[in-house]
Structure formats: structure tokens, C-alpha cells
Amino acid sequence: MANGNFIWNVGRKYFAAGVIGLAISDRYASLMAVRGSSMAPTFNPYERKSSRSVSDDYVLVEKLCLGKYEFVRGDVVVFRSPSNYKEKNVKRITALPGDSVHLPSFDTVRIPSGHCWVEGDSSACSLDSRSFGPIPLGLICGRITHVEWPPQRMGKVDSGVSEDRLPFTT
């Protein structure tokens, strides 16, 4: 009898802790591992032959921005891929609604309202808006503010866009 009670109490405490942790990570901030090198040199600057999870960068994702969806050019965001609901991608916003983006094929894309243009910092190996077009802002599920691991690169994420990537604003 005493054992059953003990297990019930411990189980209840773990459940409560789990629910609180889930609420905090959904509404305020959470930690996430960044895979792949499309955001080099900001995240994962060294190309690795095998994807060992120990060597991935861990970042702090804040969710407070999802209340108003107010982003600026240069924000690094996590968003669900438009072609695969289960996949989450990390890229940088380079253009906001109303901007015009010049593609290398000499076309110009105008960003419709409620959408944004995302690009990886490493243009060569990044699958981003240049392939799937502007994405709705509603797909975004967090903004990355700090790198937490590895310790030598711990710090705030630089939120600037390089000169040649700046769109034409209207």
C-alpha cells in the first residue's frame, strides 16, 4: 500500500513537471539542435561528414514573437517546411511583405501580404525561398536569439542581412 502511494505521488510530480515544461517551451522559449550547414557560418560552421548530434549547435528559440508576428529583416527563424508538415527549417528572413526580391534569373518577386522571404546564410547549400518561394508568416514557430552550445560560440545571434541580399523596399 505504501509503495503504491509513493509511486502515485512521484508519478504525479513528474507529470506536473512535464506539463509545466511543455507550456514553457511552447509559449516562452525552448532549446533546439540545428542540423545541416545551410546557415554556416552562423550555425554549424564546420562541415561534417557524418551528422553526429554531439557536434550540432544548440540554440535558444523564443516563442514570444508568435503573439504579434512582428519580424524584422535579419531575424533567424524556425518554420515548418511548406512541402512537409513534419520538417522544421532554420533560415534568415531577408524580405518582408511589400518588398521586391531580385532573383538570379533576373525575375523580380513581390512579397505578398502575410508572407516573407527566407534565405540561408550559406547560399550555395541552402534550400530556401529561392526554391519554394515566399512562405506565409503563419508557418513560423519561433525566433532564434542565442547560441547556447558549443561554449566557444555562445552568444547572441547576429541579426544583420548582407548588402547584396537586401531587397528593394517599397
Partner: protein
């Protein structure tokens, strides 16, 4: 003189300890109550974000199925497990304004071929679209007054918020929501 000072300090310390002892149960209870309230809100968030929530519908785009002001029950289990199919009424985050959540009916999922009238008032011209991978096609039941996929195109699946399955208000409209469009 020294003895008096020492006795005075000892009495002061005793009084301080007494006050601390009086406050401790109050502080303890305050902390416990705060923990209970925090726990309650987190449980509320869990239920709202992963199971079931209530929503108020506004606008004429889902007439005659829903009226302006209907309160509905929505569940997130179907949307999270990708089991949403054609005919379901869903809440979707609007692609042209991420702060708005709209209610529409799913007319096609990825791979489906969807046809719609280009301009119901003027022509009979049909436009046919294949819904791309990872997207869905949503339309309001009120074809004449609905801003949906016919204007903004197919919507990525991740914008789906929840599926409407029950109307709870007003009491006259109390019923479960299926995947057939009401025709009068």
C-alpha cells in the same frame, strides 16, 4: 554594562526569530498556491494546444453551415496526426495575415484535382488545379462571400490549426459537424 548589552541583543535575536517563525507558514502557503495556479494554467495550455478548445466563428463565409456568432468545439488531434481529409471543417491560420484564424472547409488534400468557378457572378469558366505536396485546398461554404483558396491558392498543411467537430452555441444549433455540406 556589557552584560546588559548582550542580553538586549539576545532578546532582539529571539524576537526576530519569532517573527520569522510566524511568517514561514504564510510564505509557504503563498508559494504553494502560486504553484497550484501555475500548474492550472499549464494544464489549460496543454488541453488547449493539444486536445480541444472553443472558438467563436465570425463572418458569412461558412453560411449556411455556420452562422455569425456560433461557438464551436475544435480538436487538434486530427490535425496533428495528419488525418484531416476532404470535407472536414477546419480552423486555419490565414496566409495573408498570420494573426487571423479563419474557418473553412477542406475541399482537397495533396494530390487531389480541384475545380472551381473563376468568377461565379460573371462567367461559367472553370479553373482546375492540382493541390501540391504538403498543401490543402480550402473553400468557404458560402461561395459568393468567401475569401479562400480560390483567391490565395493552396495553403501549406502546417497552417492548419484545428478541426471543428461540434457546435455548442446557440443552443438551437447544438449538433455535431460532419463532412457534408448542408444543401437547402
Amino acid at each position: 554594562m556589557n552584560r546588559e548589552r548582550n542580553r538586549f541583543r539576545e532578546r532582539e535575536r529571539e524576537m526576530g526569530m519569532e517573527r520569522l517563525r510566524e511568517l514561514t507558514p504564510i510564505v509557504k502557503e503563498a508559494l504553494q498556491n502560486t504553484a497550484r495556479v501555475a500548474n492550472f494554467f499549464c494544464l489549460l495550455h496543454f488541453t488547449g494546444a493539444y486536445m480541444c478548445t472553443v472558438a467563436k466563428l465570425v463572418g458569412p463565409s461558412m453560411l449556411p453551415t455556420f452562422n455569425d456568432g456560433n461557438l464551436v468545439l475544435t480538436e487538434r488531434i486530427t490535425t496533428r496526426s495528419e488525418k484531416v481529409g476532404s470535407g472536414d471543417v477546419v480552423l486555419v491560420r490565414a496566409p495573408d495575415d498570420p494573426r487571423k484564424v479563419v474557418a473553412k472547409r477542406v475541399k482537397g488534400v495533396e494530390g487531389d484535382v480541384v475545380s472551381y468557378l473563376l468568377d461565379p457572378k460573371k462567367t461559367d469558366e472553370l479553373n482546375t488545379v492540382v493541390v501540391p505536396k504538403g498543401h490543402i485546398w480550402i473553400e468557404g461554404d458560402n461561395a459568393h462571400n468567401s475569401h479562400d483558396s480560390r483567391q490565395f491558392g493552396p495553403v501549406p498543411y502546417a497552417l492548419l490549426h484545428s478541426r471543428v467537430f461540434f457546435v455548442v452555441w446557440p443552443p438551437a444549433d447544438f449538433r455535431s459537424v460532419g463532412n457534408k455540406v448542408l444543401r437547402f
